[in-house]
């Protein structure tokens, strides 16, 4: 639902989703009244809400408009979370294309990256818990003599004559056998390996292609970002993503004050609202200020590497040059900027 245009293609109004809903309840006249009230109130929350109805797509906003939007948000969040919250709008750095490399051989499945990401990026903690990284446990396959005569499908009953010769296989960890909810006392477990996935920051991102309001787009440093304010919650991007990277705020996000990270970016970890999509942004609030992402820093085995793909001496480039590297679902021609490698 983008803003309706008049005959000349200019924006005519303010029909954000909330606006429509409220208009439906209250009727236009009553709304005009309450709107005036809200615009005049001291409450930073309603001030911001009101202004946001008129706010343009982030990419089309002038510098002045961006500045105002950010001031509004800083005021609102600071009041809401009871501490000084900053909202950064740092643009992409010239000559930088971010890339990521993950050593799949070293990953032990401890999920510290998952939780570090949540701490850094202000995801909803509970009642829809949102996590941007998923670690999938894969079973190491094996072949055994006892399974020699076990057919596939095993108990179907009608597979006589289908199975020819020996089978003898146990899950080989290559198809749909990933497990998300493993909870052993210690990791890594014997006979398992682990496969973390998150947004791949594709060069040709399917999520961007399908977004009807163009609120998600790819910045020059390769980060696929979302202007939450323009997200209409249609969830097309979630369906389009082949990597299961996007999450949806089905309810009002649940972010305790004391847990909130006050250093935020407009396109990154600022608090989200109900009904918008979100995903990994390579910690845009950190990376555009030169800092490693939270997941890179926390990985106890040092499996995660991050840097500038345009710098031949960066860690990621050295890995591309020296190690055996692959990208997930390369056949889809999404050209991820996230690489997996082994020693």
């Amino acid at each position: 639902m983008s803003k309706p245009k008049d005959k000349d293609g200019k924006n005519t109004g303010t029909t954000r989703r909330d606006f429509l809903r409220k208009a439906g309840y209250a009727g236009a006249a009553a709304l005009a009244g309450s709107a005036t009230l809200m615009a005049n109130t001291d409450n930073p929350d309603s001030q911001a809400t009101w202004a946001e109805w008129f706010q343009g797509n982030y990419r089309l906003m002038t510098d002045q408009e961006k500045k105002e939007a950010i001031e509004r948000l800083e005021k609102r969040y600071s009041a809401q979370y009871g501490k000084k919250v900053t909202v950064d709008d740092a643009p992409a750095i010239d000559g930088v294309l971010f890339g990521y490399a993950l050593n799949i051989q070293k990953c032990i499945g401890c999920r510290r990256c998952v939780k570090a990401c949540v701490k850094e990026n202000n995801q909803s903690r509970t009642n829809t818990e949102i996590e941007w990284i998923r670690v999938i446990r894969m079973e190491k396959g094996q072949f055994s003599l006892e399974d020699m005569d076990k057919g596939y499908p095993a108990e179907a009953g009608f597979d006589h004559g289908v199975q020819v010769g020996g089978n003898a296989y146990k899950p080989a960890g290559v198809v749909l056998e990933g497990q998300h909810y493993y909870q052993p006392k210690k990791v890594p477990e014997k006979d398992a390996f682990y496969f973390p996935i998150a947004c791949m920051q594709c060069e040709k991102p399917p999520c961007v292609k399908v977004c009807p309001v163009r609120t998600t787009y790819r910045d020059p440093d390769g980060i696929v970002v979302i202007d939450y304010n323009w997200c209409i919650g249609c969830r097309m991007c979630i369906g389009a993503c082949p990597y299961w990277a996007r999450r949806f705020n089905w309810g009002e996000p649940n972010l305790p004050k004391e847990e909130m990270n006050p250093k935020t970016h407009y396109l990154g970890n600022r608090p989200r609202m109900k009904g918008v999509a979100e995903k990994c942004t390579f910690c845009i609030q950190r990376s555009r200020r030169g800092r490693y992402t939270a997941c890179v820093e926390v990985c106890p085995v040092g499996a995660r590497k991050f840097g500038n793909l345009l710098d031949p001496e960066s860690e990621v480039r050295r890995i591309l040059a020296r190690k055996r590297v692959f990208r997930l679902k390369a056949d889809l021609n999404t050209y991820p900027k996230f690489f997996y490698f082994i020693d």
Partner: protein, 266 residues
């Protein structure tokens, strides 16, 4: 009448569910503030949480695994890495490390024992590097004739300096500080050492730009030099407790559902 009773059952179930859900979730929101946690090696890389500014801690610790989850200041408690013999990244960017000596000295082993015990008189300097059964240090190496590093090929004094126990030893008998174990390990693990210098093996935190300041993890922050085999696991890295699994999706009754209902080989 029936509907009302039904509704109240639904209501109380809902309340119960919400309450029990709250209890489960509480674990995830770090209500239990953990102050002492570890970085990579569970025994061997301790760190204490404290506020460096009001409301801004040096680290945040996990209440599940007691591992560090987040660095408020990646350079907290670090010192310059010091000279390295081979030209690499650290000659350009600012490289810092967390010193190992404070950890090794946690029981005053470093300050007292290197002076009072290994002073050449109380414990004489060993005449040869031939492995022998040691009565001391069983907490560190339970059986000195079965050192879990090198599969019988190396001895304490390939790493520790016979002349000066406050240091490690290089290939020429020279001293290496405990704060720079990479120089020691690099003697025997050339390819890994090369990867480490280039930032591929091990890890760095701080600034990603090549000229930016970085904290480098030294080898012993991840590997216990006296046990790089970990029994049958044959791994240089000890197992760790994992963080909590994600919430189960609605309608999925238990963790084994995936496996039992949609089975292996599905």
């Amino acid at each position: 009448m029936k509907t009302i009773r039904y509704a109240s059952v639904v209501f109380s179930t809902a309340v119960f569910l919400i309450m029990s859900a709250g209890a489960v979730y509480a674990d995830n929101t770090d209500t239990r503030k953990v102050i002492e946690c570890y970085e990579s090696r569970q025994e061997g890389s301790p760190v204490t949480r404290r506020d460096i500014e009001p409301g801004w801690p040096n680290v945040k610790c996990s209440s599940t695994s007691e591992g560090v989850l987040w660095w408020g200041d990646p350079f907290d408690g670090t010192i310059p890495m010091g000279d390295m013999p081979i030209e690499a990244d650290y000659s350009r960017g600012e490289a810092v490390v967390r010193p190992r000596i404070p950890y090794i000295d946690r029981n005053k082993l470093y300050t007292i024992c290197t002076e009072a015990c290994h002073n050449g008189q109380y414990v004489p300097v060993p005449e040869s590097k031939k492995p022998r059964l040691l009565k001391m240090h069983k907490d560190i190496v339970p059986n000195s004739l079965d050192l879990q590093h090198g599969r019988g090929g190396i001895w304490c004094l390939d790493c520790h300096n016979a002349e000066n126990r406050a240091t490690l030893v290089d290939n020429f008998g020279g001293e290496i500080s405990f704060n720079q174990p990479q120089k020691l390990c690099g003697k025997c693990h050339g390819p890994i050492y090369r990867d480490w210098r280039d930032g591929i093996h091990g890890k760095r935190i701080g600034m990603w730009d090549k000229a930016g300041k970085k904290r480098w993890w030294v080898c012993t922050e991840c590997h216990n030099p006296h046990d790089v085999q970990q029994g049958d696991r044959n791994s240089g890295f000890a197992q760790l407790p994992p963080e909590m699994a994600p919430e189960l999706p609605k309608g999925m009754p238990n963790v084994d559902h995936e496996r039992l209902e949609h089975g292996a080989g599905h």
